[in-house]
Protein backbone atom coordinates (compact mmCIF):
# COMPACT_ATOMS: atom_id res chain seq x y z
CA UNK A 1 0.00 0.00 0.00
CA UNK A 2 2.78 2.46 0.95
CA UNK A 3 4.60 1.46 -2.24
CA UNK A 4 1.52 2.35 -4.31
CA UNK A 5 1.02 5.60 -2.41
CA UNK A 6 4.66 6.55 -3.03
CA UNK A 7 4.35 5.77 -6.75
CA UNK A 8 1.10 7.79 -6.91
CA UNK A 9 2.69 10.85 -5.27
CA UNK A 10 5.78 10.54 -7.48
CA UNK A 11 3.63 10.29 -10.61
CA UNK A 12 1.71 13.40 -9.59
CA UNK A 13 4.94 15.34 -9.02
CA UNK A 14 6.18 14.25 -12.48
CA UNK A 15 2.84 15.28 -13.99
CA UNK A 16 3.25 18.88 -12.90
CA UNK A 17 6.79 19.42 -14.15
CA UNK A 18 7.37 22.40 -16.40
CA UNK A 19 5.99 21.49 -19.86
CA UNK A 20 8.26 21.31 -22.92
CA UNK A 21 6.01 23.64 -24.87
CA UNK A 22 3.06 25.33 -23.16
CA UNK A 23 1.06 25.75 -26.39
CA UNK A 24 0.97 22.01 -27.11
CA UNK A 25 -0.04 21.20 -23.53
CA UNK A 26 -2.72 23.91 -23.55
CA UNK A 27 -4.30 22.37 -26.64
CA UNK A 28 -4.35 19.04 -24.82
CA UNK A 29 -5.99 20.65 -21.74
CA UNK A 30 -8.72 22.14 -23.95
CA UNK A 31 -9.32 18.77 -25.63
CA UNK A 32 -9.66 17.06 -22.25
CA UNK A 33 -11.99 19.79 -20.96
CA UNK A 34 -14.31 19.22 -23.89
CA UNK A 35 -14.13 15.46 -23.37
CA UNK A 36 -14.85 15.64 -19.62
CA UNK A 37 -17.25 18.59 -19.63
CA UNK A 38 -19.29 18.49 -22.82
CA UNK A 39 -18.97 14.71 -23.05
CA UNK A 40 -20.54 14.21 -19.62
CA UNK A 41 -23.23 16.86 -19.85
CA UNK A 42 -25.92 14.49 -21.17
CA UNK A 43 -25.63 11.80 -18.50
CA UNK A 44 -25.27 14.36 -15.69
CA UNK A 45 -28.38 16.21 -16.90
CA UNK A 46 -30.47 13.04 -17.02
CA UNK A 47 -29.49 11.71 -13.58
CA UNK A 48 -29.80 15.15 -11.95
CA UNK A 49 -33.38 15.72 -13.12
CA UNK A 50 -34.47 12.25 -11.99
CA UNK A 51 -32.67 12.41 -8.64
CA UNK A 52 -34.10 15.87 -7.94
CA UNK A 53 -37.60 14.69 -8.80
CA UNK A 54 -37.35 11.47 -6.78
CA UNK A 55 -35.86 13.28 -3.76
CA UNK A 56 -38.69 15.82 -3.72
CA UNK A 57 -41.40 13.15 -3.93
CA UNK A 58 -39.78 11.08 -1.15
CA UNK A 59 -39.33 14.07 1.15
CA UNK A 60 -42.94 15.12 0.58
CA UNK A 61 -44.05 11.56 1.40
CA UNK A 62 -42.05 11.50 4.65
CA UNK A 63 -43.33 14.90 5.75
CA UNK A 64 -47.01 14.10 5.28
CA UNK A 65 -47.97 15.60 8.62
CA UNK A 66 -50.40 18.50 9.07
CA UNK A 67 -47.95 19.98 11.60
CA UNK A 68 -45.15 20.42 9.07
CA UNK A 69 -45.52 23.04 6.34
CA UNK A 70 -45.13 21.47 2.89
CA UNK A 71 -42.67 24.14 1.83
CA UNK A 72 -40.11 22.43 4.08
CA UNK A 73 -39.94 19.65 1.47
CA UNK A 74 -38.52 22.15 -1.04
CA UNK A 75 -35.92 23.28 1.50
CA UNK A 76 -34.82 19.72 2.34
CA UNK A 77 -34.75 18.70 -1.33
CA UNK A 78 -32.66 21.80 -2.14
CA UNK A 79 -30.08 21.21 0.62
CA UNK A 80 -29.88 17.47 -0.08
CA UNK A 81 -29.34 18.17 -3.76
CA UNK A 82 -26.69 20.84 -3.18
CA UNK A 83 -24.81 19.11 -0.38
CA UNK A 84 -24.98 15.46 -1.29
CA UNK A 85 -26.86 14.23 -4.31
CA UNK A 86 -25.41 16.52 -6.95
CA UNK A 87 -21.73 16.44 -5.92
CA UNK A 88 -21.50 12.85 -4.72
CA UNK A 89 -23.87 10.91 -6.96
CA UNK A 90 -22.76 12.88 -10.04
CA UNK A 91 -19.10 12.26 -9.18
CA UNK A 92 -19.71 8.54 -8.72
CA UNK A 93 -21.31 8.50 -12.16
CA UNK A 94 -18.41 10.55 -13.55
CA UNK A 95 -15.94 8.08 -12.04
CA UNK A 96 -17.60 5.44 -14.20
CA UNK A 97 -17.83 7.53 -17.33
CA UNK A 98 -14.69 9.68 -17.25
CA UNK A 99 -12.49 7.58 -14.95
CA UNK A 100 -12.79 4.36 -16.91
CA UNK A 101 -12.09 6.27 -20.12
CA UNK A 102 -8.93 7.85 -18.63
CA UNK A 103 -7.62 4.54 -17.23
CA UNK A 104 -8.31 2.56 -20.39
CA UNK A 105 -6.94 5.27 -22.69
CA UNK A 106 -3.64 5.59 -20.79
CA UNK A 107 -3.49 1.83 -20.18
CA UNK A 108 -3.87 1.12 -23.90
CA UNK A 109 -1.15 3.65 -24.67
CA UNK A 110 1.10 1.86 -22.17
CA UNK A 111 0.60 -1.66 -23.56
CA UNK A 112 0.92 -0.50 -27.18
CA UNK A 113 4.24 1.26 -26.38
CA UNK A 114 2.83 4.73 -27.17
CA UNK A 115 4.03 5.96 -23.76
CA UNK A 116 7.48 4.50 -24.48
CA UNK A 117 7.42 6.40 -27.79
CA UNK A 118 6.69 9.65 -25.91
CA UNK A 119 9.54 9.02 -23.48
CA UNK A 120 11.99 8.18 -26.26
CA UNK A 121 11.17 11.54 -27.89
CA UNK A 122 12.07 13.28 -24.63
CA UNK A 123 8.48 14.11 -23.72
CA UNK A 124 7.55 14.05 -20.03
CA UNK A 125 4.82 11.42 -20.53
CA UNK A 126 3.04 11.95 -17.16
CA UNK A 127 2.99 15.70 -17.80
CA UNK A 128 1.62 15.36 -21.31
CA UNK A 129 -0.92 12.63 -20.53
CA UNK A 130 -1.97 13.13 -16.91
CA UNK A 131 -1.72 16.86 -16.07
CA UNK A 132 -4.28 17.93 -18.75
CA UNK A 133 -6.73 15.30 -17.46
CA UNK A 134 -6.34 16.46 -13.85
CA UNK A 135 -6.76 20.12 -14.87
CA UNK A 136 -9.86 19.16 -16.87
CA UNK A 137 -11.17 17.18 -13.87
CA UNK A 138 -10.78 19.95 -11.28
CA UNK A 139 -12.25 22.61 -13.58
CA UNK A 140 -15.03 20.77 -15.38
CA UNK A 141 -16.44 18.64 -12.54
CA UNK A 142 -17.41 21.79 -10.51
CA UNK A 143 -19.12 23.22 -13.60
CA UNK A 144 -20.97 19.96 -14.12
CA UNK A 145 -21.98 19.96 -10.47
CA UNK A 146 -23.43 23.49 -10.81
CA UNK A 147 -25.44 22.27 -13.81
CA UNK A 148 -26.45 19.19 -11.81
CA UNK A 149 -27.66 21.30 -8.84
CA UNK A 150 -29.71 23.54 -11.14
CA UNK A 151 -31.27 20.60 -12.95
CA UNK A 152 -31.81 18.68 -9.70
CA UNK A 153 -33.86 21.54 -8.24
CA UNK A 154 -35.67 21.88 -11.57
CA UNK A 155 -36.39 18.15 -11.45
CA UNK A 156 -38.01 18.66 -8.04
CA UNK A 157 -40.19 21.39 -9.49
CA UNK A 158 -41.23 19.12 -12.38
CA UNK A 159 -42.10 16.40 -9.83
CA UNK A 160 -44.33 18.89 -7.97
CA UNK A 161 -46.12 19.77 -11.20
CA UNK A 162 -46.53 16.14 -12.20
CA UNK A 163 -47.41 14.49 -8.89
CA UNK A 164 -49.31 17.20 -7.05
CA UNK A 165 -47.87 16.03 -3.69
CA UNK A 166 -46.68 19.58 -3.06
CA UNK A 167 -47.84 22.67 -4.89
CA UNK A 168 -45.17 24.33 -7.05
CA UNK A 169 -45.62 27.49 -5.02
CA UNK A 170 -44.84 25.64 -1.75
CA UNK A 171 -41.81 24.05 -3.40
CA UNK A 172 -40.47 27.38 -4.68
CA UNK A 173 -41.06 28.97 -1.27
CA UNK A 174 -39.11 26.13 0.36
CA UNK A 175 -36.25 26.43 -2.14
CA UNK A 176 -35.94 30.16 -1.30
CA UNK A 177 -36.31 29.69 2.45
CA UNK A 178 -33.17 30.10 4.57
CA UNK A 179 -30.67 29.62 1.79
CA UNK A 180 -27.09 29.52 3.08
CA UNK A 181 -24.26 30.17 0.61
CA UNK A 182 -22.04 27.81 2.60
CA UNK A 183 -23.86 24.83 1.08
CA UNK A 184 -22.75 25.93 -2.41
CA UNK A 185 -19.16 26.41 -1.19
CA UNK A 186 -19.19 22.90 0.30
CA UNK A 187 -20.54 21.47 -2.96
CA UNK A 188 -17.85 23.22 -5.00
CA UNK A 189 -15.03 22.12 -2.69
CA UNK A 190 -16.34 18.57 -2.95
CA UNK A 191 -16.52 18.87 -6.74
CA UNK A 192 -12.91 20.07 -7.05
CA UNK A 193 -11.64 17.29 -4.75
CA UNK A 194 -13.73 14.62 -6.47
CA UNK A 195 -12.56 15.81 -9.91
CA UNK A 196 -8.96 15.49 -8.76
CA UNK A 197 -9.58 12.03 -7.27
CA UNK A 198 -11.26 10.69 -10.43
CA UNK A 199 -8.60 11.98 -12.85
CA UNK A 200 -5.51 11.22 -10.77
CA UNK A 201 -6.43 7.74 -9.49
CA UNK A 202 -7.66 6.51 -12.87
CA UNK A 203 -4.61 7.99 -14.63
CA UNK A 204 -2.34 6.27 -12.10
CA UNK A 205 -4.03 2.92 -12.69
CA UNK A 206 -3.72 3.35 -16.46
CA UNK A 207 -0.12 4.55 -16.38
CA UNK A 208 1.12 1.51 -14.49
CA UNK A 209 -0.75 -1.04 -16.59
CA UNK A 210 1.37 -3.90 -17.85
CA UNK A 211 0.33 -6.77 -20.06
CA UNK A 212 -2.43 -6.62 -22.64
CA UNK A 213 -6.13 -6.03 -23.21
CA UNK A 214 -7.16 -7.98 -20.11
CA UNK A 215 -4.95 -5.86 -17.86
CA UNK A 216 -6.23 -2.64 -19.46
CA UNK A 217 -9.77 -3.71 -18.49
CA UNK A 218 -8.60 -4.57 -14.97
CA UNK A 219 -6.91 -1.16 -14.63
CA UNK A 220 -10.10 0.60 -15.69
CA UNK A 221 -12.14 -1.40 -13.18
CA UNK A 222 -9.62 -0.74 -10.38
CA UNK A 223 -9.54 2.95 -11.27
CA UNK A 224 -13.32 3.27 -11.01
CA UNK A 225 -13.60 1.22 -7.78
CA UNK A 226 -10.76 3.05 -5.98
CA UNK A 227 -12.08 6.44 -7.17
CA UNK A 228 -15.57 5.64 -5.86
CA UNK A 229 -14.22 4.57 -2.46
CA UNK A 230 -12.01 7.66 -2.21
CA UNK A 231 -14.90 9.94 -3.27
CA UNK A 232 -17.08 8.58 -0.47
CA UNK A 233 -14.23 8.89 2.04
CA UNK A 234 -13.44 12.47 0.92
CA UNK A 235 -17.17 13.27 1.05
CA UNK A 236 -17.26 12.32 4.72
CA UNK A 237 -14.08 14.25 5.55
CA UNK A 238 -15.15 17.45 3.75
CA UNK A 239 -18.66 17.32 5.24
CA UNK A 240 -17.19 16.87 8.73
CA UNK A 241 -14.70 19.71 8.28
CA UNK A 242 -16.92 22.28 6.56
CA UNK A 243 -20.33 21.79 8.20
Amino acid sequence: MFDSLGKYVLLLSLSFRRPEKFKVYWAEVMREMVSVGIGSLGIISIISVFIGAATTIQVAFQLSSPLVPLSIAGKIARDSTILEFSPTISSLVLAGRVGSSIASQIGTMRVTEQIDALEIMGVNAPGYLIAPKIIAGVTMVPLLIIVSITLGITGGYIACLASGDITPADYIAGVHDGFDGLTIRVALVKAVVFGFIIASICAYQGFYTSGGALEVGQSATKGVVYSCVMILFADLVITRIML
Binding site: T112, E119, I120, G122, N124
Partner: protein, 250 residues
Protein backbone atom coordinates in the same frame (compact mmCIF):
# COMPACT_ATOMS: atom_id res chain seq x y z
CA UNK B 1 28.77 6.28 -32.14
CA UNK B 2 27.15 4.47 -29.23
CA UNK B 3 29.19 2.54 -26.72
CA UNK B 4 27.80 0.22 -24.06
CA UNK B 5 30.01 -0.97 -21.24
CA UNK B 6 29.37 -3.99 -19.06
CA UNK B 7 25.56 -3.77 -19.03
CA UNK B 8 23.74 -5.86 -16.45
CA UNK B 9 19.97 -5.92 -16.03
CA UNK B 10 18.09 -7.84 -13.39
CA UNK B 11 14.32 -8.15 -12.90
CA UNK B 12 13.80 -9.49 -9.39
CA UNK B 13 15.78 -12.73 -9.25
CA UNK B 14 16.00 -12.99 -13.03
CA UNK B 15 19.30 -11.73 -14.46
CA UNK B 16 18.47 -10.95 -18.10
CA UNK B 17 21.67 -9.19 -19.21
CA UNK B 18 25.04 -10.34 -17.91
CA UNK B 19 27.76 -7.83 -18.65
CA UNK B 20 27.34 -6.84 -22.30
CA UNK B 21 29.79 -4.45 -23.93
CA UNK B 22 29.75 -3.33 -27.56
CA UNK B 23 30.38 -0.35 -29.82
CA UNK B 24 27.87 0.67 -32.50
CA UNK B 25 29.49 2.67 -35.27
CA UNK B 26 28.04 5.70 -37.07
CA UNK B 27 26.64 5.10 -40.56
CA UNK B 28 26.35 1.36 -40.01
CA UNK B 29 23.46 -1.02 -39.46
CA UNK B 30 24.24 -2.56 -36.09
CA UNK B 31 22.13 -5.65 -35.51
CA UNK B 32 21.43 -7.27 -32.16
CA UNK B 33 20.30 -10.83 -32.79
CA UNK B 34 19.47 -13.79 -30.61
CA UNK B 35 16.76 -16.27 -29.74
CA UNK B 36 13.59 -15.42 -27.85
CA UNK B 37 14.39 -14.47 -24.26
CA UNK B 38 18.06 -13.83 -24.99
CA UNK B 39 17.73 -10.20 -23.82
CA UNK B 40 17.75 -8.33 -27.16
CA UNK B 41 14.83 -6.00 -26.47
CA UNK B 42 15.90 -5.52 -22.84
CA UNK B 43 19.34 -4.43 -24.07
CA UNK B 44 17.76 -2.02 -26.55
CA UNK B 45 15.54 -0.56 -23.82
CA UNK B 46 18.58 -0.17 -21.54
CA UNK B 47 20.41 1.72 -24.29
CA UNK B 48 17.57 4.17 -24.96
CA UNK B 49 16.79 4.63 -21.26
CA UNK B 50 13.40 2.92 -21.11
CA UNK B 51 15.00 0.54 -18.60
CA UNK B 52 17.76 1.62 -16.25
CA UNK B 53 20.65 -0.88 -16.32
CA UNK B 54 21.33 -2.55 -12.95
CA UNK B 55 25.02 -1.96 -13.69
CA UNK B 56 27.01 -0.60 -16.61
CA UNK B 57 27.13 2.51 -18.75
CA UNK B 58 25.81 3.76 -22.09
CA UNK B 59 27.66 6.47 -24.01
CA UNK B 60 26.19 8.50 -26.88
CA UNK B 61 29.20 10.06 -28.62
CA UNK B 62 31.22 9.96 -25.37
CA UNK B 63 28.38 11.45 -23.28
CA UNK B 64 27.46 9.19 -20.39
CA UNK B 65 23.69 8.73 -20.81
CA UNK B 66 23.32 6.46 -17.77
CA UNK B 67 24.25 9.08 -15.20
CA UNK B 68 22.02 11.82 -16.66
CA UNK B 69 18.64 12.74 -15.16
CA UNK B 70 15.45 13.19 -17.23
CA UNK B 71 16.12 16.85 -18.11
CA UNK B 72 19.76 16.24 -19.03
CA UNK B 73 18.71 13.42 -21.33
CA UNK B 74 16.25 15.53 -23.35
CA UNK B 75 18.88 16.99 -25.79
CA UNK B 76 20.11 13.47 -26.59
CA UNK B 77 16.58 12.09 -26.79
CA UNK B 78 15.63 14.67 -29.40
CA UNK B 79 18.42 13.15 -31.52
CA UNK B 80 17.00 9.65 -31.12
CA UNK B 81 14.45 8.13 -33.47
CA UNK B 82 12.86 4.82 -32.65
CA UNK B 83 10.70 2.41 -34.58
CA UNK B 84 8.78 0.11 -32.26
CA UNK B 85 7.80 -3.49 -32.93
CA UNK B 86 4.12 -2.52 -33.30
CA UNK B 87 4.96 0.94 -34.64
CA UNK B 88 3.49 2.66 -31.51
CA UNK B 89 1.78 5.36 -33.56
CA UNK B 90 -0.50 7.66 -31.56
CA UNK B 91 -3.85 6.26 -32.58
CA UNK B 92 -5.82 9.43 -31.78
CA UNK B 93 -3.71 11.37 -34.30
CA UNK B 94 -3.54 11.28 -38.09
CA UNK B 95 -0.38 10.23 -39.93
CA UNK B 96 0.55 13.89 -40.37
CA UNK B 97 -0.09 14.75 -36.71
CA UNK B 98 2.07 11.79 -35.65
CA UNK B 99 4.99 13.14 -37.68
CA UNK B 100 4.39 16.74 -36.59
CA UNK B 101 4.21 15.80 -32.90
CA UNK B 102 7.96 15.93 -32.08
CA UNK B 103 8.39 18.95 -34.36
CA UNK B 104 5.64 20.83 -32.49
CA UNK B 105 7.23 20.08 -29.14
CA UNK B 106 10.91 20.52 -29.81
CA UNK B 107 11.34 22.97 -32.69
CA UNK B 108 10.48 26.60 -33.27
CA UNK B 109 9.78 26.11 -36.98
CA UNK B 110 6.80 27.80 -38.60
CA UNK B 111 3.73 25.69 -39.39
CA UNK B 112 4.58 25.64 -43.10
CA UNK B 113 8.16 24.52 -42.41
CA UNK B 114 6.89 21.73 -40.20
CA UNK B 115 4.36 20.64 -42.81
CA UNK B 116 7.08 20.66 -45.46
CA UNK B 117 9.22 18.45 -43.23
CA UNK B 118 6.30 16.07 -42.57
CA UNK B 119 5.59 15.83 -46.31
CA UNK B 120 9.26 15.23 -47.03
CA UNK B 121 9.39 12.41 -44.47
CA UNK B 122 6.26 10.83 -45.93
CA UNK B 123 7.67 11.11 -49.43
CA UNK B 124 10.89 9.49 -48.20
CA UNK B 125 8.96 6.42 -47.03
CA UNK B 126 6.75 6.36 -50.15
CA UNK B 127 3.56 7.43 -48.39
CA UNK B 128 2.91 10.72 -50.15
CA UNK B 129 -0.69 11.87 -49.75
CA UNK B 130 -1.51 9.64 -46.76
CA UNK B 131 -1.36 12.63 -44.37
CA UNK B 132 -4.95 12.55 -43.18
CA UNK B 133 -5.31 8.82 -42.57
CA UNK B 134 -5.49 7.43 -39.04
CA UNK B 135 -3.26 4.51 -37.94
CA UNK B 136 -6.31 2.22 -37.85
CA UNK B 137 -6.71 2.80 -41.62
CA UNK B 138 -3.16 1.64 -42.42
CA UNK B 139 -1.71 -1.80 -43.17
CA UNK B 140 1.10 -3.22 -41.02
CA UNK B 141 3.77 -2.24 -43.54
CA UNK B 142 2.38 1.28 -43.89
CA UNK B 143 2.36 1.68 -40.09
CA UNK B 144 6.03 0.70 -40.01
CA UNK B 145 6.79 3.26 -42.70
CA UNK B 146 4.88 5.99 -40.84
CA UNK B 147 6.83 4.94 -37.72
CA UNK B 148 10.05 5.44 -39.69
CA UNK B 149 8.82 8.80 -41.01
CA UNK B 150 8.09 9.93 -37.44
CA UNK B 151 11.45 8.60 -36.26
CA UNK B 152 13.39 10.56 -38.90
CA UNK B 153 11.29 13.76 -38.63
CA UNK B 154 13.75 15.32 -36.18
CA UNK B 155 16.75 14.29 -38.31
CA UNK B 156 18.07 11.88 -35.68
CA UNK B 157 21.70 10.94 -35.15
CA UNK B 158 20.67 7.62 -33.65
CA UNK B 159 17.98 5.27 -34.94
CA UNK B 160 16.72 2.33 -32.90
CA UNK B 161 14.55 -0.31 -34.48
CA UNK B 162 12.82 -3.11 -32.60
CA UNK B 163 11.88 -6.12 -34.73
CA UNK B 164 11.20 -4.17 -37.94
CA UNK B 165 9.96 -7.20 -39.85
CA UNK B 166 7.65 -8.83 -37.33
CA UNK B 167 4.22 -9.48 -38.83
CA UNK B 168 5.24 -8.42 -42.33
CA UNK B 169 5.35 -10.43 -45.54
CA UNK B 170 8.83 -11.11 -47.04
CA UNK B 171 8.52 -8.44 -49.75
CA UNK B 172 7.46 -5.73 -47.31
CA UNK B 173 10.20 -6.84 -44.90
CA UNK B 174 12.83 -6.32 -47.59
CA UNK B 175 11.30 -2.94 -48.40
CA UNK B 176 11.57 -1.86 -44.75
CA UNK B 177 15.14 -3.21 -44.46
CA UNK B 178 16.18 -1.37 -47.62
CA UNK B 179 14.59 1.84 -46.36
CA UNK B 180 16.43 1.64 -43.02
CA UNK B 181 19.66 0.83 -44.85
CA UNK B 182 19.25 3.81 -47.22
CA UNK B 183 18.46 6.23 -44.38
CA UNK B 184 21.42 5.00 -42.32
CA UNK B 185 23.78 5.45 -45.22
CA UNK B 186 22.29 8.72 -46.51
CA UNK B 187 22.13 10.60 -43.19
CA UNK B 188 25.06 8.82 -41.49
CA UNK B 189 22.88 7.63 -38.63
CA UNK B 190 24.01 5.20 -35.95
CA UNK B 191 21.36 2.52 -36.40
CA UNK B 192 20.75 -0.27 -33.90
CA UNK B 193 18.30 -2.96 -34.98
CA UNK B 194 16.96 -5.78 -32.85
CA UNK B 195 15.88 -8.66 -35.04
CA UNK B 196 15.78 -12.40 -35.48
CA UNK B 197 15.03 -12.18 -39.18
CA UNK B 198 17.82 -13.89 -41.10
CA UNK B 199 17.07 -11.97 -44.30
CA UNK B 200 17.85 -8.75 -42.40
CA UNK B 201 20.99 -10.28 -40.92
CA UNK B 202 22.32 -11.35 -44.29
CA UNK B 203 21.02 -8.31 -46.16
CA UNK B 204 21.92 -5.29 -44.03
CA UNK B 205 23.99 -6.61 -41.09
CA UNK B 206 27.11 -4.42 -41.22
CA UNK B 207 27.84 -5.22 -37.59
CA UNK B 208 26.14 -8.01 -35.70
CA UNK B 209 26.05 -8.74 -31.99
CA UNK B 210 24.70 -12.19 -31.13
CA UNK B 211 23.22 -12.57 -27.65
CA UNK B 212 22.78 -15.93 -25.97
CA UNK B 213 21.58 -16.47 -22.39
CA UNK B 214 22.01 -12.77 -21.63
CA UNK B 215 25.65 -12.61 -22.76
CA UNK B 216 27.40 -11.39 -25.88
CA UNK B 217 28.24 -14.69 -27.57
CA UNK B 218 29.60 -13.50 -30.91
CA UNK B 219 30.31 -10.26 -32.78
CA UNK B 220 31.10 -9.73 -36.46
CA UNK B 221 29.62 -8.84 -39.85
CA UNK B 222 27.17 -10.60 -42.18
CA UNK B 223 30.12 -11.72 -44.27
CA UNK B 224 31.73 -13.45 -41.30
CA UNK B 225 28.59 -15.04 -39.91
CA UNK B 226 28.43 -17.81 -42.51
CA UNK B 227 31.94 -18.98 -41.74
CA UNK B 228 31.94 -18.92 -37.97
CA UNK B 229 32.39 -22.11 -35.98
CA UNK B 230 30.46 -20.73 -33.01
CA UNK B 231 28.02 -23.57 -32.29
CA UNK B 232 25.25 -21.54 -30.64
CA UNK B 233 25.34 -18.95 -33.43
CA UNK B 234 25.26 -21.63 -36.12
CA UNK B 235 22.36 -23.36 -34.36
CA UNK B 236 20.49 -20.04 -34.33
CA UNK B 237 21.28 -18.77 -37.83
CA UNK B 238 21.10 -22.06 -39.66
CA UNK B 239 18.17 -23.55 -37.78
CA UNK B 240 16.02 -23.96 -40.89
CA UNK B 241 16.67 -26.45 -43.70
CA UNK B 242 16.59 -23.57 -46.17
CA UNK B 243 19.43 -21.78 -44.37
CA UNK B 244 21.38 -25.05 -44.02
CA UNK B 245 21.08 -25.59 -47.78
CA UNK B 246 22.14 -21.98 -48.39
CA UNK B 247 25.18 -22.44 -46.14
CA UNK B 248 26.28 -25.58 -47.97
CA UNK B 249 26.42 -23.56 -51.20
CA UNK B 250 28.57 -20.82 -49.68
Amino acid sequence: MIEIKDIFKTFGENEVLKGISATFQTGKNNLIIGGSGSGKTTLLKCIVGLHEPTKGEVFFDDENFTTMDFTQRVPIRTQIGMLFQNSALFDSMTVEENILFPLNLFTNQSQSEKLDRANFCLERVNLTGKNKLYPSELSGGMKKRVGIARAISMQPKYLFVDEPNSGLDPQTSILIDDLINELTDEYKITTVIVTHDMNSVMGIGDHIVFLHQGKKWWEGSNKEIAHTDNKELNDFVFASKFMQAAKSKL
